[in-house]
Assembly symmetry: C2
Homo-oligomer: 345 residues x 2
Amino acid sequence: MPDRPTLESLAAELGVSRQTVSNVINRPERVAPATLERVRAAVEAAGYVPTLAARQLRTARSHALAFRLMPTFDGINGHILDAFLHELADHARRAGYSLALFSAEDEDDEMETYERMVAARSIDGVVLTSTHLDDPRPDRLLALGIPFVSFGRPWSVTADPFDAPFDWVDVDGAAGTEAVTRRLVEEGHRRIGYISWPLEPGVGCDRWDGWRRAVDDSGLATEELAVYCPDGADQGRQAAHTLLARGATALVCASDTLALGAARAVSDLGGGRVVVGFDNTPVARELSLNSVVQPVAEAARTALGLLLRRIDGDQESRHVLLPPTPVFRDRTLSGLTAEPEHHQR
Amino acid sequence: MPDRPTLESLAAELGVSRQTVSNVINRPERVAPATLERVRAAVEAAGYVPTLAARQLRTARSHALAFRLMPTFDGINGHILDAFLHELADHARRAGYSLALFSAEDEDDEMETYERMVAARSIDGVVLTSTHLDDPRPDRLLALGIPFVSFGRPWSVTADPFDAPFDWVDVDGAAGTEAVTRRLVEEGHRRIGYISWPLEPGVGCDRWDGWRRAVDDSGLATEELAVYCPDGADQGRQAAHTLLARGATALVCASDTLALGAARAVSDLGGGRVVVGFDNTPVARELSLNSVVQPVAEAARTALGLLLRRIDGDQESRHVLLPPTPVFRDRTLSGLTAEPEHHQR
DNA sequence: CTGAAAGCGCTTACAG
DNA sequence: CTGAAAGCGCTTACAG
């Protein structure tokens, strides 16, 4: 048994040229059936796998995708990104791509890392996450000329995300809070509060918009029933107390963290009020909180598909908005039974 | 400006040979100061970065480490692995290594992935996590001959982990629960319960051991004050009720998930009992639960150091056990003030 | 359908 | 201190 089989050593052993072996692996249709079978058996027996570096050097394709691991300041909400990464790794592998994971200090550091990776030809594309208002990264990646896809739409005061000159996938948060709110209206609620972080264009604003639409459509009061505060359980609890004092009977929250606090406020007052969070995090599941499930697996699959298409040279920009699904677990909500656990990893 | 600078194009431009440029990058001490400076300036100006694949092919080193993203069945406890991965990515990058992330169905799938990566020469080493009783992976990696380090000691009924023929880093869970329990004894508690998943060698058993040592040493009762149940908030709550009924005034839990449930049981009874969890997860922070902080950053740094040393040919096996740190936040604990938040990411 | 040739971009001994 | 040569292991046109 040689040190490690190569195309050369295998070919010599079989009495064929090494490009025949290469063809067996890369273009089997060009090889005669008999040869094909013979070579394949030998490849199998030797446990031969082409050396990645050699292939990369020759094809100028790394079959690797860059992914920045975001600092999870908040491990509760970081859950969505974690789940997204899992799904992405899964689908990437099936497509023959690997994930080059890295962490960065800040966005400049992040961009420098992409630049270095591109210069070293060690990645074919980038998966961006956690886009925010006036995010400089898409433009810089566009300038770099590296294919990329964003999980998260470009947030902007002026521009329409559907006009963006790059691919993105996002979850329609507004649709989620709207569905939740309409459901609460159907259940008979007339004063439905909303708790979220400050309202500049972004995730919180998007979710706020859904609540507002549903409440407006139903002719219910809105103004004094929205409270804006930083994302945190304590803040959510305080905000909830304010809203409950204003007569709210149900609270729609922009995150499970806020909902966690809101639920405590409700229990401070002896219960009987409904709280709904967002993201269906592990805490929500453990505490049987109502929440909204993001279709993370579908988002990851879609993002990967868009990116691979880009890498293959497609120039057209695509934008995909996916609908989330409310999950009601709280028995307080009349007539509702808890839905089966969604074991999204 | 050429398509993309290579050693060749840079050398031609500067009127030197390409190995001189290569020397400037890899062995600057062999180059005359004047040449060095001139070449460096050109490299900088051109934004030249060596193509990774070519270097890999030549040096037979990928400078990449494999890491399996574990399915996080439980996003609360999965937090430690997430934090570990962050730190690992950080330190790896500083050491010039990248992380090849992948997900796998099960351990067979995981092993096959390592084998393929080794065959394709696309990784230099493996970082193993989530070791368990009779884990088959270390032996298989040993047989593969690929350098690896394990975050988690080898759990076994018979063998001493310090005799293992491979490198591992782990957190001394027993030391954590022992410290916590002794502290509770100092605070005057005489009936201190313990809640954990079933006691086969592993993390739960290790943490149990610390509690038992402290309780035994203090001459307190143990037998009826330990309850074993699956890891979950509901289970923790139920177990806590059992122990509280047996007169426990403090509850040491093997996880924050169990502690979350136990805290609810305590509040069911009107409070006044102390609960301590483990891992200092985001939930514990949000809910001001007492917990134990794992030194994740140090574990990641140590693991990487051991692995790189292995990759460099060191044959000796090293085993490192790191002490965790209790964090008391609950004001119920007399005389204690909340410690400053540990913002481990 | 199969094989001889060229080359991807680097680094590593080895002469000079 | 600097340069000419060889080669890492592949794949891709191109002949035959």
